[in-house]
Symmetry: D2
Subunit: 439 residues, 4 copies
C-alpha cells in the first residue's frame, strides 16, 4: 500500500492504572507499524499520585526505547480527548475499594461476589455508565472521528451502553479470548498464530465453538484432553478444574468465567474460603498494586517489571495494540471484539453487543456470521444478555425496577428477595457514584 | 351454520385417573353442543383396578344424565384409538410412586423437587416420551385425522416432542392459564368471561402480559393489588405470597410456577419443611387419591364428588371440553393452548412449542402474534426453552450428554456437578421406564 | 357484559365523498349496538358544495330512521376531531381530476395507470402523506385516544406512514378482503358468515391462503372452479378472467389487484383500449359521480340510492361499521385490517404494515401469526413492500432519490429511465399538492 | 506454519471448455503455493474432440512450465472424481446450441434472452440440475471430503441445489465480483489489492455496498464518477451506460447484470438489434469458439492465446485459483463466494445461497455478517431469490407448477401468460435434457 499514515494521538482514560506500562511496552514493540506521536494519560484527582508514578515510568520507558513519543499527564480529560485518534478507557470508578465492596456485598447473602460477573459486575456497571456517557459526550464534541477502545469492565455492557446511547465509534475489548488461544497454543506447544478459535458469545461468557490447529479442527480432541487435565486459568479467577462430564457433554470450549455459572456451588465455597483467609481477590490485588507502585517509583526502572504479571491482565496490551494496528494499517485480519450484533448471532437481539470474531480494518470491526447457537449454550447467553440489557436500562436511567429485575434474573442470584437485598446494599454503599439513582 | 356434526368417539389414555369423573362431568354439561357417542377409557395392567372403579362411576354418571354415550373400559389402546376423533392423554408413567421419587431425588441434593418443573419434570418427561411416541405411532396408523389433546405433564415438552417427531395433530393443554383468569375474575367479583388475559410463554412458565376487564387494561392496577394481598394459589403448588417488589418491578402477571424460579430459596425451604412433616406433594396426593377411590367405589355415587377438588386440577375438564367443543363447532374463540411457535414469539425458535392465546376452530389452534418479549421476561423463557429442547433430545434418543446439559442449564440446578448426581439417580431409579437409555 | 358504553363522536374527513350515504346507512343499521350521537362531516373549500349535498342527504336518512344522531357539516377539521372517538379518513387530495392525471401519466409511457397500484397509487400517496400527517398532529393534540380508521388509498401506505411517523392509534381498512369473502359465499350460494378466509399480504396485494366453508378447507376445490369460471371482479377493476394455469400453479386465492402484476400485458392493453373509447376509470367515475350528486340533491331522497353501486366501493360501510362495532363492543371477532407487522409475517420487516386477519377488541387489532409465506407469493410481496417503504420515505421527506427508487423497483415499471420520466411528470403536475418536494 | 501440504488431485468436469487453458495457466502461476499433482479433465461423448484439443494444449503448457503435473483426459467421470481434492464444474449441458435456444425462445415473446438471467438462465438451470445431482452422488461416494468448486451457471442456483439436496461441500464461484474490483482498480489506476468492496446479494445480482480504496470509503465519489463516465462492462454483456439518475439514487455499486432489471427496455432493444444483425451472444460465442479451437489445435501453441479474452470470462482462473489456494493454505483472506446464507443477510431465508464476502480457510468459506439491506436493493433480491427457490424445486422434482410460478414472478417476465408460453417452449425444445419432467 502506498498511502501515508498520519501521526497518532492516543488518549488513555484511567492513565494511572498499573497496566499502563504494559500498554506502553506494546506501543514500543509496535513502533514500526504504529506511528504514535502523543500519548495523553488522563486520571482524576484521587488518582493523581498513581498517574505521576506511572506516567514517569512511561516516559523513562519511551526514552530508553529512543522513540519520539511525547507523554502528557493530565487531569483534563477534554484536552486529552481533543483530536485524539484513539481513546482507550481503562478506568475504575471508585477505585479498588469499590471493587472490594462489590465482592463483599453478594457474599454476605451467599452469592458469588466477582469484579465483572453477577452482582459485583452489575454494581461496577452502574458506577461506570454515567462516566462513560460523559466521556462519549466529550468525544462526540472534540474528536468525533476517534475510535473508543473500551477495556473498562464489564466491557460488553459498557460497549453496548455506548452503542445504544451515543454516536461514538466504539470497540469493546477483553483479554479473555486471546488468553484462550494462548492457552491452547501452550497446551500444544505451538506459536499462537497456528491456533484459530471461532469465538461466539458475550464478554466474559464467550465460547470457543470450534478450535483449529493449522486449520485442522481439534475441538473434540482438545475437549477430551481438557476433561482430564489441569487447565486454562487466568490469574484473576480462582483456579479450579473443569468438571469433566460437563466439558464432554458441552462439546465446546468454555471460558474461565463460565465456571461461575456451571460450578456456582464450588466457586462460591472457594470464594468464601479465600475471603476468610487471604481476602477477596480485590483485597489481594490491592496489596499487589501497592507493591507494584513502590517498584514503579524507582527512577532507575525503565521497563515493565516482571512483577506486573501477578496482577492478571495477561496479553492486555497485545490485545489493544493488535486492534489499533489493524485499524491504522487496514489489515483485514481476524480478532475478537465486542460489537453490535446486527444478526451475527441469530439468537440474540440485533441491537445487542456480542463478543465474536471480526475482520478488523480501517473502518472498524466486521463480524463473521455465526448463525444459530446450539441449545446447550444458547439459553445461558440469552438470559445473561437480558440481564445486561436491564442493567444498561437501570444504569442509564436510574430505574430501580429495571435494576431489581436485572439482578433477579441473573443466574447467580437465587431469588428476587436476595436480589433486592443486594441491590439495596449496592445503592446505599455506592451512593456517591450513582447520580442517576440519587438525583 | 347448517352443517351436520358427526357423532364423536373419544379415547382417553390414562382412563383410570381420578380426574376422569371431572372429564365425564364436562361431557355431560356440554352434551347439547358436543355429540359424543363413545368414550374409551384406556389404561395399563397396573391401572386395571382404578380403571374399573372410575369407569363404573363414569357409567353411573352418564346413566343419571340420561345420555346415550357408551363407555368402554379397555387395556387395548389400539382398539380405543382406532377411528377416534379425539385422543386425550392424561396418563402417568410409573404412577404416583414415580412422582414421589421425582420429588425426593432433587431434594437429596438441596434442589427443588417438583412434579413438572426442574429435575422432577425432567424425569417425568424422560419416562413419558417413549410412551407418547408409541401412542402417536398408533394414531398415525389408526386415526390419522384424530386430534391428540395432551394433558400429560410436562405438557409443553410432550407436545413439542409430538410435533417434532410425529405427524400427529396435537394440542397441548394446561389448566394454569384458565385458573389465572378465574383468579382474576374472583378477585374482581365478576364472571370469568369478563376477564381476558393476553398470555405468552411456555407451559408452567406463562405470563399474563396484559389483563383486561371488560376490555379495559387493568394490568397495573391488578399488579399493585397483588403486591399487597394474599393471592393466586392453586392447590398443587405450596401456597405462598408473591414478593411485593418483584411483582411491581415485573409489571406483568406471573403464573404460580414462576415462584420456583423467582423464589427458589423460600420455595425450597417450604418444600423441605413439608417433606419432613406431611410428606412431599406426591405423598399427600397418594393419600388423597386412596380416599377418593374409596368414595368412587360406592355404587350409589353417580356424580363427581366434591372431594375431588382437594386433588388440584381445578378447571381441568372445563379446559378440555372448551377446546374440543370449539374444534367440533368451529367456534373461532380464543383459548390458551400449547402450539408450534412459528414466529408467534419472535424470541423463541420457530419450531419450539409455546403456550399462548390462539383462535380455535375446526382446523385447530391459530396463535395470535406476540412479537418480542420485554427483557424482563425474555431471558428466563429462553433458557427454559433451551432446557426443554435438550430434554426432548435426551428423551427421544437416550442421549446422556443432552440429558446432562438439560439439567445443568436448568435455572433450578446450581451446578453441573449436582446436575450429574441428580441425573445418575434419575436414570438408576427409573431404569424400567427408560428403554431409550438402556437398550 | 355489564359496562355502559358511552355515546360516540365520529369525525369523517372527506365527508363530501359520495360514499358517505353508505356509511350513514351502516350507522343506521347498527344503531342498536353502536351508540353514535354525533357525526362530523369535514371537507375542504373545494368540496363545500358536495359536502352540503351529501350532508343534507345524511340528515334526511337519519331523520327517516328516527335516530337521535346529530350531523355537523364543517370545514373546520379541528372542531370535528376534538374529542372524537373515531376519525374516519376518506378524502382524496386533488379530487377526481388528480386521479385522472395519475391514470394518464403512466399510460403515456406504456405503463399501467391505476388509482392505487403502481405509479398512480404512488402519486396519490405523495399527495396524501402531508395531509394525513397534519390530521394526525390534530388528533395527537385534540383527541389522543381516538382511533383513526383510514380508508384513504393507498390504504396500506397511508397506515404505515401514520404508524411510523405519528403517535396516533390507527387501523387501515380496505373493502377488498370482505368482497373476496362475499364472492366465495356467492359462488357457493351461502351466507358470508359461513366462509372464512385466512388472508395475508399487503393492501391491494392480499392473498387468501386458505379458504374454509363451514370450517372445511375448500381452497383447492375453489381454485379449480375459479380456473374454469368467470370470476371475482369488483366494479373498480377492469373485469377480466384469471389465467387458468396461473391460478392452478399458484394454489392460493389472489385478490383482484394481483391481475396488474400477473397479467400486466393484457391489463395494459385493456386499459389503453378503454382510455381511448370510454375514458379512464377516473373519467368514468367522474361522470357517475356527477349523476349521483344530482340524485343526492333531491330533497325527497332519504335513503342510499341504488345507483351508488355503480361507483364501486361495495361493502365499504360494512367493513367500517364492523370494525368500529367490534372495538366499541370489545367483540374479539376476526376481521382483516392493515396493522403493524411485528412478526406476524416473518418475511416482512417488523415495522411494516401488513393486511391480515386480526382479532378485534376494545384495544384494537391483534394479528394472527402467519409465519413464513411460500416462495410463490413471498417475492412479490417483498418487492412491493420495499416500494412502499421508499414511497413513504419520499412522501414524508420529499426525497427525490427515494422517489425514483420507489418507482424504479415497482414491478409495473419496466426501467429506471421510464421511472424517471413518470416521476418528473408526477412532480410537475402535482406541484401544488407536494409541499414536501417544493419547499 | 509447519504442516506439510499433500499433493492435490483436481477433477475438472467440462474439461473441454475453452476456458481450460486459463485454468491451467492459473495452476502454473500458483505452482509454488498449490502443489497440484494430477489434473483430470472430464467431458462427455459430444465434447470428446474439444477435450482432446484442449487437453493437449494443457499438456504442452505444463510441459513448457516444467511442472510435474499429470493431465488425464477422460469420459469416465467416476475415475476423475475418485479421491479428488477439488472437483471444478464448468460444464454446459446441451452445449452452445442449447444456449442459443435459451436466448431465442424468450426473445420470441419480447422478453430478454440471456444465458444466466431470466428465462434463459432458468432453462439452463433445469438442464444442469439433474447432472449436478448425479455428479454429487459420485462425490458423496468416491470423494466425500472433496470440495466442489462450482462455476457452472446459473452458479447461485446450482450451488443452492447442491446445498439443499446433497451432502457435498460446495462453494459457488463467479467472476463478476472480482471483475468489479478490477474495474474500480483500473478506474483509479491502482493495483487490485488496494481496492476492497463489501459485496452482498445473489449471483449475477450482487451489489458493492461499500467500496474502499486503501481503506477509505470512496463509494459516493465512485458513484458520482460512474454517473458521468463510460463504465464497467464485461465482454459477455452487451455494453451500455448506466442510467445516471438511477446510479445516484441507488447509492451503491450495481453489477453488470443489474442492467437487465433496471434497464429492461433498452437492454431488450439492444438484444433484438444484435440478434438481427450479428446474432445472439451465444451465436457470436459459437463463432469465437470455433476460431479459438483452431488456434488451440496448433501443436506449437504452448500458452493461453490472447484471443481467449474475446470469449469473456475474464479473471475466471484468478478467481478459482485464489479460492483453492486459500483453502489449501488456510489463508483466512476475504473472497466473494456463493454460500449458504445462515443469517448473513437477514432479509433472505436462512437456507438460501447468497453471494457475499467470506473469510476463506481450510474449512471453507465463512461469511461476514451483512445485516439488513436498504429497501432500495432489498426487494429485487428477495423476489429473485424466490424465483431461484422455485426454479430449484422445479429442477429437482420436475414440478410444472413450480416452474410456471418461477418464470411468472421473475422480474423480466411481463405476465403469467407469457411465462407459460416460454415455459412450454423450453420444455419442448429441451426434452432430451429434462428427464425430471419427462419420466
Ligand atoms: N477488558 C480487559 O481485558 C481488562 C483487563 C484488565 C483490566 N480491565 C479493566 O480496566 C480498568 C482498570 O483496571 P485497574 O485495575 O488498572 O484499575 P485502577 O483501579 O487502577 O483504575 C485505573 C485508574 O482509573 C482512574 N479513574 C477512576 N475514575 C476515573 C475517571 N472517572 N476518569 C479517569 N480515570 C479514572 C483511577 O484513579 C486509576 O488510576 C478496570 O475497569 C478493569 O476492569 C479490563
Ligand atoms: N396439564 C394439566 O393441566 C394437568 C392437570 C392435572 C394432571 N395432569 C397430568 O395428567 C396426568 C394424569 O395425572 P393423574 O394424577 O391422574 O395420574 P395417575 O397416576 O392417576 O395416572 C393416570 C392413569 O394413567 C395410567 N397409566 C400409566 N401409564 C400408562 C400408559 N402407558 N398407558 C395408559 N395409561 C397409563 C395409570 O395406570 C393411571 O390409572 C399426569 O401426567 C398429570 O401430570 C395435567
Ligand atoms: N379502502 C377502501 O376500501 C376504499 C374504497 C373506496 C374509496 N376509498 C378511498 O376513499 C377516498 C375517498 O374516495 P372518493 O371517491 O369519495 O373521493 P372524492 O374525490 O369524492 O373525495 C372525497 C372528499 O374528500 C375531500 N377532500 C379532499 N381533500 C381533503 C382534505 N385535505 N381534507 C378533507 N377533505 C378533503 C374532497 O373535497 C371530497 O369531497 C379515496 O382516497 C379513495 O381511494 C377507499
Ligand atoms: N461462474 C463464472 O464466472 C463463469 C464464467 C464463465 C463460464 N461459466 C460457466 O462455465 C460453464 C462452461 O462454459 P463454456 O462456455 O466453456 O461451455 P462449453 O459449452 O464449452 O462446455 C464446456 C464443456 O462441458 C462439456 N459438457 C457438457 N455436458 C457435460 C456433462 N454432463 N459432463 C461433463 N462435461 C459436459 C461440453 O462437452 C464442453 O466441452 C458454463 O456453465 C458457463 O456458464 C461460468
Amino acid at each position: 500500500m502506498s498511502h501515508v499514515v498520519k501521526k497518532l494521538k492516543i488518549a488513555v482514560i484511567g492513565g494511572g492504572s498499573s497496566y499502563t506500562p504494559e500498554l506502553i511496552e506494546g506501543f514500543i514493540k509496535r513502533a514500526p507499524e504504529l506511528p504514535v506521536s502523543e500519548i495523553y494519560l488522563v486520571d482524576v484527582e484521587q488518582g493523581r499520585e498513581k498517574l505521576e508514578i506511572v506516567g514517569n515510568l512511561a516516559k523513562r520507558m519511551l526514552d530508553k526505547a529512543g522513540l519520539n513519543i511525547s507523554v502528557h499527564l493530565t487531569l483534563d480529560r477534554r484536552e486529552a480527548i481533543s483530536n485524539a485518534d484513539f481513546v482507550i478507557t481503562q478506568f475504575r470508578v471508585g477505585g479498588i475499594d469499590a471493587r472490594i465492596r462489590d465482592e463483599k456485598i453478594p457474599l454476605k447473602y451467599g452469592v458469588i461476589g466477582q469484579e465483572t460477573t453477577g452482582p459485583g459486575g452489575f454494581a461496577k456497571a452502574l458506577r461506570t455508565i454515567p462516566v462513560i456517557l460523559d466521556i462519549c459526550r466529550d468525544i462526540e464534541e472534540l474528536a468525533p472521528d476517534a475510535w473508543l477502545i473500551n477495556f473498562t469492565n464489564p466491557s460488553g455492557i459498557i460497549t453496548e451502553t455506548v452503542i445504544k446511547h451515543t454516536g461514538v465509534k466504539v470497540l469493546g475489548l477483553c483479554n479473555v479470548p486471546v488468553n484462550m488461544v494462548n492457552y491452547v497454543a501452550k497446551a500444544y506447544g505451538v506459536e499462537m498464530d497456528r491456533v484459530y478459535i471461532q469465538f461466539a458469545g458475550l464478554n466474559h461468557l464467550v465460547w470457543g465453538l470450534r478450535v483449529y490447529l493449522d486449520g485442522e479442527d481439534i475441538t473434540q480432541k482438545l475437549i477430551e484432553q481438557l476433561a482430564s487435565d489441569e487447565n486454562m486459568t487466568m490469574k484473576n479467577i480462582p483456579g479450579m478444574q473443569w468438571d469433566k462430564d460437563l466439558l464432554k457433554s458441552l462439546g465446546v470450549l468454555p471460558c474461565p468465567y463460565h465456571r461461575y455459572y456451571y460450578m456456582k456451588d464450588t466457586m462460591l465455597e472457594e470464594e468464601k474460603r479465600k475471603a476468610t483467609h487471604e481476602g477477596t481477590r480485590g483485597e489481594v490485588v490491592k496489596k499487589v498494586e501497592r507493591e507494584l507502585f513502590e517498584l514503579y517509583k524507582d527512577p532507575k526502572l525503565d521497563e515493565k517489571p516482571p512483577q506486573l504479571e501477578k496482577r492478571g491482565g495477561a496479553l492486555y496490551s497485545y490485545t489493544a495494540c493488535n486492534l489499533i494496528s489493524s485499524i491504522v494499517n487496514d489489515k483485514r485480519d481476524i480478532q475478537v471484539v465486542n460489537v453490535k450484533n446486527s444478526g451475527a448471532i441469530l439468537d440474540l437481539p440485533e441491537d445487542a453487543v456480542v463478543e465474536t470474531n471480526c475482520v478488523i480494518d480501517k473502518n472498524g470491526a466486521h463480524s463473521l456470521s455465526v448463525g444459530r447457537l446450539p441449545a446447550k449454550i444458547r439459553g445461558l447467553i440469552q438470559v445473561v444478555k437480558a440481564y445486561e440489557e436491564l442493567t444498561i436500562e437501570a444504569g442509564v436511567n436510574g430505574d430501580y425496577n429495571a435494576a431489581l429485575q436485572a439482578l433477579t434474573i441473573h443466574p447467580l442470584v437465587p431469588s428476587a428477595g436476595i436480589a433486592k437485598k443486594i441491590l439495596d446494599d449496592i445503592l446505599a454503599e455506592n451512593r456517591e457514584y450513582l447520580p442517576q439513582f440519587f438525583k
